[in-house]
Amino acid sequence: MGRAAKRAPFPCIVFVFALAFCLAAPLYASAPLSARVSETTLSNGLKVILLENHKAPLVSFQVWYKVGSRNEAWGKTGLSHMLEHMMFKGTKNVGPGEFSRTIEQNGGDDNAFTSTDFTAYFENLSADRVSIPVDLESDRMGGLLLTEEQFKPERSVVMEERRLRTDDNPGAILVEQMNAAAFQVQPYHWPVIGWMQDIARYTVEDLKEHYRTYYCPANAVVLVVGDFKKETLLPLIERAFGPIPGGKAPDQQKDREEPQTGERRIAVRKEAQLATVAKAYHVPNLRERDGYALEVIEALLSAGESSRLTRLLVREKQLALTVSAQNDLLSRDPSLFTISAEVMPGKTSDEVEKALAAEIERLQRELVGPRELEKAKNQLESAFVYSQDSLFYQGMILATYEVVSTWKEIDRYVPGVRSVSAEDVRRAARKYLIPANCTTGILVPIPSTNGKPAQPASPSRENIVR
C-alpha cells in the first residue's frame, strides 16, 4: 500500500484506449446536472463550461483540445501525445518548465493526458489562485514556441515513456495488438502513444502543423469546476482567451470501421508469468440506445464480487485471477466492448475461453431476472453518484461528454441505464457479442531467456531468481 498510496509522479498520462473505470461512472445529483452547468461560447469560438461547487475552497481548471490519436496520420502516430509533452516547454512569455513551476509555487498540481479523442490539461489548486491557470493556459493556447532544442530531449523522454508503459508490460502489448487487429480502417487502430518508429520520425515542423491545426479556440473547451463565482471568473477568462484568433474548426470526420466479417484471433508471445485471454467486440457508443444496454451487460458480468464472471471464474471455478468487462460508452467513433481474464496458474487459456463463451451464451439465451437487473442498475447509478466526489473527475467527465458529443448528454446516463429491459440485454448480447464480431487475443507466456541474478541480492533468493 505504501507505494500505491503515494502521489502518482507521472506527468503526462496516456490513456491507452478509451477511458476505462471512471467513465463507467459519470456524475449525477438530485437536480439534473444541466441545471447547474453554464455554457458560454466566446466570439472566437472557444467554449467555456462552468460548474460551481462550493463544498471546498478548491478549483479544477481544465483545457481540452479536440485532438487525439484519431486525428493523426499513418507514419506519425502518437504526434498528439508528443505535442502534449511540448506544451510544457515554453512560449515567448513563459520559459521551459516555468508553467509547472508557477503552478506548484501556488500550491497547485498540474498535468495532462491524451486519448484517442482528446488532449486535456488541468490545474488543481486553491480557489483564490484561479487566475493563475487562466493566464498560463491562454498564453500557451496562442503562443507555444516549439524549438528543436526543447524537442530533442523530450522525444527521448516519450520513448522512455513508451518502453515503461507498453514495451515492458505484456498486458499493454496485448491491448495494443488487439486494437490493431479489431480496427483496420478507423484510427483507433494505432496506439495513443504511437509506434516507436513513428516517435523517432517526428519533426518540429510536424508538431507546429499539428498545433496550428488543432490548438485553436474553435477546437477547444475551457472547463472549470469548483469554488468560484461565474460573474467573476467568466470575465477573467474572456479577457485572457478572447483575443486569441479563433482559427477554423478542423475537419473531424474520420473513416469508420466496416462491419467485421468474421472471427479474428491474435497471440502475443512474451515472457510473462500468467496467460491472459481477452475478447473485444465492436459496439455502438452513447449515440445509440444499445450503448446503455451494454453498460448493463458490463455490470452484470463484472461489477462487484457477486457479478457473473467474478463469482464463477474467480471464486467458484478458480479459472481466473482477475476478470473485467468494459464498455466504451464515451467515444467519438464507435469503439469496443472488451472482456479480459488473467488465467490462474495451473489452468489453461482454453478453459477460460470456454467459460467466457458459456457466460456470453447464457446472456443470449436467458432473460436476466428482475432482481439481478435491478442490482446492475443500482451499481451503475451509485458509481455515478460516487464519481462526483472529486472536482477533477466531475470536470473530466463533463468535458469528455463534450468532446465526444455534448456535455448535456450526461443527464441521459441514469435514465438511459434505468430504461434498459431484460429483453434489451438479451437482444444486445445476441447482436454484438457474437463470434463474427469478435477479436480474441491471447497472451501466451514464454519462458525467460535471461538467467539468474548476476549477484546474489538478498537472503531471500526467491525474491531475485526469475
Binding site: Q105, G108, K152, D168
Partner: protein, 441 residues
Amino acid sequence: MRRRFAYACLVVCSIAVFSGSAFCSPPVQRLVLDNGLVLLISEEHSLPFITFQFLVKAGSKDDPPGQEGLASLSASCLALGSAARTMEQIHEELDFMGAAISSGANKDYTAISLRVLTKDVGRAFPIVMDVLTRPIFPVADVKKEISRALGAIRSSEDQPGVVADRTFERALYGSGPYGHPTEGTTESVSKLNRELISAFHRTYYHPNNTILVIVGDVDDGLVKKDLRPLLEKWQRKAVPPWKGQAAPSGKGRALTIDKPVTQSNIVIGGTGMGRDNPDYYAAQVTNYIFGGGSLSSRLMADIRNKRGLAYSVESYFEAQKYAGSFQVLLQTKSASTNESISAVMEDANVMRSELVSPSEMEGAKKYLVGNFPQRFGGQSKIASFFGQVEYYGLGLGYPKEYPSLINSITRDDVLRVARTYLNPDGFITVVVSDLKAAQGK
C-alpha cells in the same frame, strides 16, 4: 455500565492565514467510545453518500516470522462469511445497494472501507460490522483465497518496478518487520491457513486497536440510531504490545536482477526515518527540492529535462511507524543505466555539499503549504487523512500547525538532512534490467 461517548475534542472548520493563503480544513469530531474505539466524524452534505474507513492497527510489520503475508491475507478473507451471513449473502446484499467495500493491509495497519448511499447505510453498516467482528473464515474459501494470493504474487513479477522495490526493501530492512512484502512471498503464503488467519484476527481486530473515520452525509441522528449501537457491542480485548525490533539497516551495495526488459528499473536509496522523527518536515522540504517536486525538482531537471534519460524520476521518504527509507526511483533504457545512476549520485552529492538556494527553499515551502488543502479533495482522501493523523498521533490541530512546521525549516536544516540521508556511499542500488544490454555487452 454507562455507555456514552466521551467528547475528547471538537475541532470546527478553522480558517487560518499562512503565507498569504487562506485554507480551511474539513470539520472533524473526535470521540472515544467506552470500548476504546476512536471515532472521527467529518460531515459534508453536498452528496448523498458516506465513506467509512476502519483502520485496524496491525499490518505486515505484525506478521510473525515465517508467516509473511498474514495481515494481508486476513484482511482479504474477512468477507468470506460471518456468523450471520454467507459470503454469497454478503456480496449479493452489498452489490444490490451499489455499495463498495474493500479491505487490505499495508506495512503498518489494515484498512477496511465502505462507501454507500445514505439511504442504504442502515442496511450496509451492520454487514460491515458483522464481517469485521464475526468472520468465520470457512476452510475451503480460505484455501481459494490463498491460491489467489499466490497467483497475484506470481503475476506481480511481471512488473519490474515491483521486483525492484521488493529487492530494495529486503536489502534495507533484512529480516526485520519491514523487510518483507506486505503480500508475503510464495514460500510463506503457501504455509498460511485458516487457524493462523483466525488467530491474527482474534489478536488484533479489537475496538481498542481500531480507528473509525466517517466522512460525508452523516449526522448525529444517524450516528446515534444506526451506528453507535453496533459499534458499542464490539467488546474490548487486550492487544499485545508491539515487540518488533527493526533490524539494522543493510549496508550500501549494488544488486542486479536479470530480466528481459527494454528498460532498467532502478531504485537507489537507504535508511530514512519513522513518522515521529522531528526531522520529518525538514525531510519533506529537502525531498521536494531534490526529487519530490513533480516537474520542478533537481532530479527531474537534470535526468528528464536536460538529459532526456527517463520519463519518470522521483525521490521520496517513506516514513512508517517504526522505520523508514529514502528512495530514488527511475526507469531508463538499458544503455543509459550507468549514466543515470551516476547522475543521481552526483545530484545527491551536490545536495550534501551546498546550501540550497533561497528561491528553491521558498518554492518548496510555497508548494508544500499551498498544496495541503488538496488532501481534502474528496471523501476517501479526507477519511485517509484523518485516519493517519490519529494513527501517527499528529493531533487534530495538525492542519493548522502544518504551515509553521514547514515554514520554520531553514536551509541549514535541509543541508543537515541531506548529509544524513542522501548518502551515496551508503546507498543500496537495485537494478532490474536486461543485464547484457545494460552493461553494453
